[in-house]
């Protein structure tokens, strides 16, 4: 039986960094996936993910309910992502001022067509549906854990997953839609 998140949080607060490492093992991939939704590149997502965990560590003593570490961390990731979006907005503003080009079109870098289709399809989902997919597929398809992080009922979770799947299927079937 694995140690609960709450126990690991309390151990971390007592100075046990290895306990925080275990929390990192449980959630790092999920956090990177959430960050990827805004960075659209893996390297950026990895950097943002590290930022999320650093911030979480520093603020861990402010977590009111240690058993809710997962949802709390996801919320923190979303905040970091918002800051990233603001930064991206700022960078574009600066770019526009420096570059006299009339129009700049963003380029795609992925080459794997099938994977690219899937990435595109996932990006078309709304935030909650994407999060449901991330949690479900990165938490070993543990519905209970996914419910906890998303704050939805079991039926709500499966509804989200079904909607996500339907949208992905539709998109892959007709990418222009």
């Amino acid at each position: 039986m694995s140690v609960s998140d709450a126990t690991l949080v309390l151990k971390t607060l007592e100075g046990d960094k290895a306990a925080f490492g275990e929390l990192y093992d449980r959630y790092a991939a999920l956090i990177r996936a959430i960050c990827y939704d805004v960075t659209r590149n893996v390297t950026g997502a990895q950097d943002l993910g590290q930022e999320v965990f650093l911030r979480a560590y520093v603020k861990l003593n402010k977590l009111a309910d240690p058993d809710r570490f997962g949802p709390w961390l996801v919320g923190m990731a979303r905040n970091v992502c918002r800051e990233y979006i603001r930064g991206r907005l700022r960078d574009r503003h600066v770019l526009a001022g420096l570059n006299p080009a009339e129009t700049i079109t963003a380029q795609k870098s992925d080459s794997d067509e099938q994977l690219l289709d899937l990435k595109e399809a996932i990006s078309k989902l709304n935030e909650q549906e994407r999060l449901a997919l991330h949690v479900y597929y990165l938490q070993e398809q543990d519905a209970e854990q996914a419910q906890k992080i998303l704050g939805v009922s079991r039926s709500g979770l499966y509804r989200l997953l079904a909607k996500a799947r339907k949208k992905i299927e539709k998109y892959i079937g007709n990418p222009e839609s």
């Binding site: 590290q50 800051e83 001022g97 700049i104 899937l118």
Partner: protein, 282 residues
């Protein structure tokens, strides 16, 4: 040919998703080591220095974006209140929940949000239409999206930057607190608003000669005041006050709701070296 490929994709749906998510586990051990080594020794005495605005960011834009973020929470509630039922028929909290559900029916909205900010405030005017079209005007900076392309236009520099509208865009700087509201997903809204807001009071008031409702609620520690037209169930204005200082943080005035917004509002063209924004008549 394309059909065959698509069928194959669907057959491997779960495998593909699993494969897709493997990307996020790559390099995990190395990142783990780096993280654990970088954890501060005196961990809970140190505050992270992130999210600061670099000095080169325009002051006006900074205020505008901050104001936009502040307004997000306001809008989460005022949109919910657009269809708030008259008090007396339901408990305020129940009416609130009903309003949240009805919010998902809203198709478009046009509003102006201002932030006093000690006399240094600014205003943002925004038009939004389902599923992902928007236009924000912040000083001389215009951002729009028609759902497919995103346009960032610097009016003064006369520079237009166009990119694909992929994933969350700059509009999320305003709307992010709304969760899935602007993607027409009611449950997301319920999660972000219903569970966090509490109606404190609901009373009849006369506002500019009209019979209205004044609703006061709290969310995330801040206080919100709404003025609603009783008959039309339309929002006149929303104010947000800081839970810490009690100061007015933002003031929203709704100009239109569920009115048709022309497509030209969400697109900016560039022809013959000139940027053509129909809204700005250039």
């Amino acid at each position: 040919m394309v059909q065959k490929r698509n069928e194959k994709n669907m057959d491997n749906f779960d495998n593909n998703l699993t494969h897709r998510y493997e990307e996020f586990t790559q390099g995990h051990a190395q990142f783990r080591c780096q993280l654990l080594e970088s954890l501060p020794a005196d961990q809970w005495a140190v505050e992270p220095a992130v999210g600061k605005w670099p000095s080169f960011v325009g002051v006006k834009l900074r205020f505008a974006i901050r104001a936009a973020m502040a307004a997000a929470a306001v809008f989460a509630i005022f949109l919910g209140a657009t269809s708030l039922l008259s008090p007396g028929t339901e408990e305020p909290q129940a009416a609130w929940a009903t309003a949240i559900e009805k919010t998902t029916q809203l198709q478009s909205i046009h509003f102006i949000m201002t932030t006093p900010n000690g006399g240094k405030g600014s205003s943002v005017e925004m038009w939004w239409r389902r599923p992902g079209s928007f236009r924000m005007e912040i000083g001389g900076f215009v951002q729009t999206s028609n759902g497919h392309k995103r346009y960032n236009y610097n009016d003064k520099a006369n520079v237009l930057v166009v990119s694909d509208a992929e994933g969350p865009g700059p509009e999320m700087a305003i709307l992010s607190e709304l969760g899935g509201l602007f993607f027409s997903e009611a449950y997301t809204l319920s999660g972000d608003v219903t569970n966090k807001s509490e109606v404190l009071s609901c009373e009849d008031v006369i506002y500019k000669g009209e019979s209205c409702l004044k609703i006061v609620s709290t969310m995330n520690g801040d206080r919100f005041e709404y003025i609603l037209d009783k008959k039309e169930q339309l929002i006149y204005e929303v104010k947000r006050f800081s839970g810490m200082s009690g100061k007015l943080m933002s003031h929203v005035v709704v100009l239109e709701a569920d009115k048709e917004i022309p497509e030209s509002m969400f697109e900016i063209e560039a022809k013959g070296g000139k940027v053509i924004d129909r809204r700005l008549k250039k």
